[in-house]
Symmetry: D2
Subunit: 341 residues, 4 copies
């Protein structure tokens, strides 16, 4: 296992790219060696408008933006893709063909049969698809994906229920932050003092990705999922109200115990507690809880009996950390730990 | 049927009381003759801080605040109660005993067996409980209630489903505005850039009131309801995501037709269209749609098939108009139209 | 004087264009006969996303979008321009050459020497520049402008001080709403829970336009103006803190009297009180006061003595009504009343 | 000089008290040994609702709340007072009489002639008043104060201008966050989508405190200050637009240089750069810049020439850190460094 892994970031100047940089700045294993985006040749500081606080990290300030297709296998071990869906697909494919190991936040390849869709605490075993992918596609590279932010947050919370009780049906209503739409994303005139009960493509992703995560690597799990996704006026953090029917009856106390027992993994970005259960009546709250576990825990509360489906709870996660750059980096750490990198 | 009805408002200086005044200012039938609140003797303008726009209506500016227990039967035909739950109960009881006809927004008497809980478009026939109430309690007065704001908005939308398909189960996730908490209500430090996934007492009300509304006057309806109520950063308007299992299968088109066919009533405050269906993907929206039908219509959209329960949609209503003063005034108009007043 | 005036709107599908339509829908004199924008041939409803409430006015829903250069002098008496600065200049010029009477909200021609920049309550007499403009430019048409929204709101408040005491220096700090930036305007990620202390071009406009307004038609007034413009998280309404040094000493009571005595004009869009003075310590407030006088009054408060310049007050106006479509329509009414149209 | 200083916090359960705890949790010199508030005997965790993030610091969680009048001189070296103005005065006086060294954020004693009002980078030399205070009052204790949050932020920015050019007049317009009002503070219904152009007492404080800070210890400085304070919808951070007339002309470049040259002090809480100058047109911004220098720097931008007073700029600081607990702790560090503690 290599000690230091050289990584490149695709889409480094976007909001998601900035989160990758922020989380990789002092990473013990991954070393940022290349930042790719469209403004090739510019200093990073001149190519982006830093939105994550007072000042751009000094480490990347003077790095020159490069083109993704100029990456050299000698210099780069892993490519994190923060590209938008639609654009990401082809670029990732070209790099994988050249032998690069891609970990992508984009949705383009997620649902392909031989592409692992991974949340380390949920379905690490799906990584075995990599071998099949390489054989089938005839390449040395790899494309590994992690799910949509809303899916990730819910799936982490469903994992202990799935393992302990089985799941028949899930109905979820999300309240998602504006940072989920990237930049430029939601116009202020649209979302100020408002709720928009629709996010394009989000509900479909929550439905199909959840089934892939809980299936075996190749067949979606047999559960029924319904999602209704809303945008609300918060900056970061997606809060989700989950109604769930378990196969074996789960009363709130049993569910609570199961949630708390979900094990944290032993990787740098893995939170000690993947699920933090709060017993106060009014938690989790978006602003107060999104940074729990350095943004990598989901915070869960209001576990209660439910007349309609049996069990209800509320779960919150940081969409651009756990559901974004942090989640993808954790997938990278898992791939490294398991010897794929 | 009297042409002009003299009305009094209990709790006239609160936010809900202000809404009553705003909606009664130019009412064709109801004439405000008494404003009751704690600061007895003060001019209304000095007793309240007007929050509904630039200036306090000139009609009430100089009216003197009176005490509720000083009401005279000669002067007052109907009493609208905008008192907070907990305080309202005894005061309303005392007035009913004295023979006053009370229409109350407070929750205190809502669930009593002989007290009608009315949404005119949903269960006007429950008004017949008034006779039973009078007989049983031995008074000439009456206490009539209307439901909690969140219940009202959902129940209007459920009515056509109930009538056309029957309802087995409902799971609802609400996103409610800060005005729902009254004044002083939610602290800005608590709700700014935040979602609070809990509103005390709200979920229980949605569950039990819905069953009473769709039951016959004395027995709750046999349906399963689950509610999860969240406070979001909007000023007015409650948006609700509803997952519903109908008894007879209802596909989205059939449901849409049923929603649109719910008839408007012929009262001054009744909206022509109790339910306005919007076909755009991203409607209803809180800020854009809460004032539809002068705040008395609910706006409904995103009707779609649902894997978990069968049917999903989003409904929005104005919490302090349809779900507040406007709804109660409409109940008053119904009582008047039906000869109870 | 013609009884009915046919008007066209340039930029009808933008946010400002929508405000024009909203304010002209039931106008007693001006009849909308043409809506111009880029999506020529489309029904208005399909060419725009209506942002001013629940539904698009039925009057314009089915009107077909036309091209500005297809306007016919037989059909159109007045053209209101809601075009963005930069684009407006040439289009307005071409139409004026063809003989159209243009009233423009765009900044392009505002500072030209022979173009009147008008606030009816402030400098109606500057309209006389029209004759000079026609002579000089050799056309029958006309270009009349009204100032930037922030300038308008401040200038209305300065008018009584200018007339009664003279003004030496003004320092103004504005807190402007997001609707001032049009649509798409400010990204929500930029302005949520934030203040941005800069609005491109705004400060320069406040400085030079104020001098033109208070000058004689051809020479800027001799006063010193300093402006610092900030964007805050409100939807509509610009609030301005004004520090002013008058030539003749004005104590707060005298200033108050002068503010209140500014006369309203006798036109359909003219507010009875151009300046509404509020004596409460905490008024004007953006959300509560922006709609005063149907959005055409400015609301002024907190008049007090000031150690630095002598007099301080706070003034608020509706940026897209008084400072936008409403202001321009009032200019149109003035032009009509004075016989220019 | 003692290595470890035992400190107590008065008003430990309030929002400001929480900030003290957050900033003292890992302090190299100050050790929290007593938390005083009204709920005497309760565990700290049960006595407060923690508002500064996910979880209450483990160090204080189980500490028992004590009464301020039970403090023992053997155990406590310094008392930080986070009490509200009005309540603080007498309690602080009683403790000073008993010999305690008080550093107070409350306004009650700020303007007393023998009480130092200190910003370490601005007027550290005023600490010498302590001796006079002790002599005059006949006590061994001391009361040292630091200014109101808005004053502090402005005064840090004025310091280099005062030293290099002299100051004749200042007009300041502030845009202050809701956390400035404490908890419970501003109601959400009051401030949502709104600006309130008034904060009780704030303007007077800015005027008189600024003069005391730049005076010699006993006489206010001779400069004219005018302030207009507004509440806007941000959580933390006060942004201030400053118009200033210097005695000696200061062009923007000279001012910029002076701002940057203000020296940081060598104390644990002292920011390396007390003033961070940003050259981007649109900085400082409240959300992006309030945490600069760990919340202890002020961020300054938009330095420009001004027609009215000569020089204008925008300055931002964190109101509950630099202008709150952080500022008071820095005063404590200064007192310790200078041997007063």
């Amino acid at each position: 296992m290599k000690k230091r892994i050289n990584v490149a970031i695709l889409g480094a100047a976007g909001v998601l790219g900035q989160r990758f940089i922020e989380r990789l700045e002092n990473h013990p294993t991954f070393e940022m060696v290349a930042l790719a985006d469209v403004m090739v040749g510019k200093r990073y500081e001149d190519a982006t408008k830093w939105r994550l606080g007072n000042r751009i990290p000094s480490k990347v300030k003077d790095m020159k933006i490069v083109a993704g297709d100029s990456f050299s296998k000698n210099e780069i071990d892993v490519v994190f893709s923060a590209l938008p869906g639609g654009i990401a697909g082809k670029i990732e494919l070209d790099l994988a063909k050249k032998g690069f190991f891609i970990i992508s936040k984009a949705s383009d390849h997620r649902m392909e049969e031989d592409v692992p869709l991974i949340i380390p605490e949920v379905n690490a075993e799906h990584l075995s698809l990599i071998e099949e992918q390489r054989k089938k596609r005839g390449w040395d590279g790899a494309i590994v994906t992690d799910p949509n932010c809303s899916t990730t947050i819910m799936a982490v919370s469903l994992k202990p229920l799935w393992d302990n009780f089985g799941i028949e049906r899930v109905a979820v209503s999300t309240m998602q932050s504006i940072s989920g739409a990237g930049y430029p994303g939601v116009q202020s005139l649209d979302i100020f003092e408002n709720v928009i009960p629709y996010i394009a493509g989000e509900e479909e992703k929550m439905i199909i990705e959840t089934k892939k995560l809980f299936g075996d690597a190749k067949r979606p799990a047999d559960l029924r999922v319904s999602a209704s996704c809303s945008r609300v006026g918060t900056i970061d953090g997606h809060l989700e109200v989950v109604f769930v029917e378990t196969s074996k009856k789960a009363d709130p106390d049993e569910a609570r115990k199961a949630f708390e027992q979900l094990k944290g993994l032993d990787y740098p970005s893995a939170p000690k507690e993947p699920i933090i259960v709060r017993d106060e009546l009014d938690r989790p709250q978006t602003r107060l809880d999104r940074d729990a576990g350095d943004g990598m825990s989901v915070v869960l509360g209001r576990i209660r009996k439910d007349e309609a489906l049996g069990l209800t709870y509320v779960v919150l996660g940081h969409n651009t950390i756990r559901g974004g750059a942090g989640g993808a980096i954790l997938v990278g750490e898992l791939c490294h730990g398991k010897g794929y990198i």
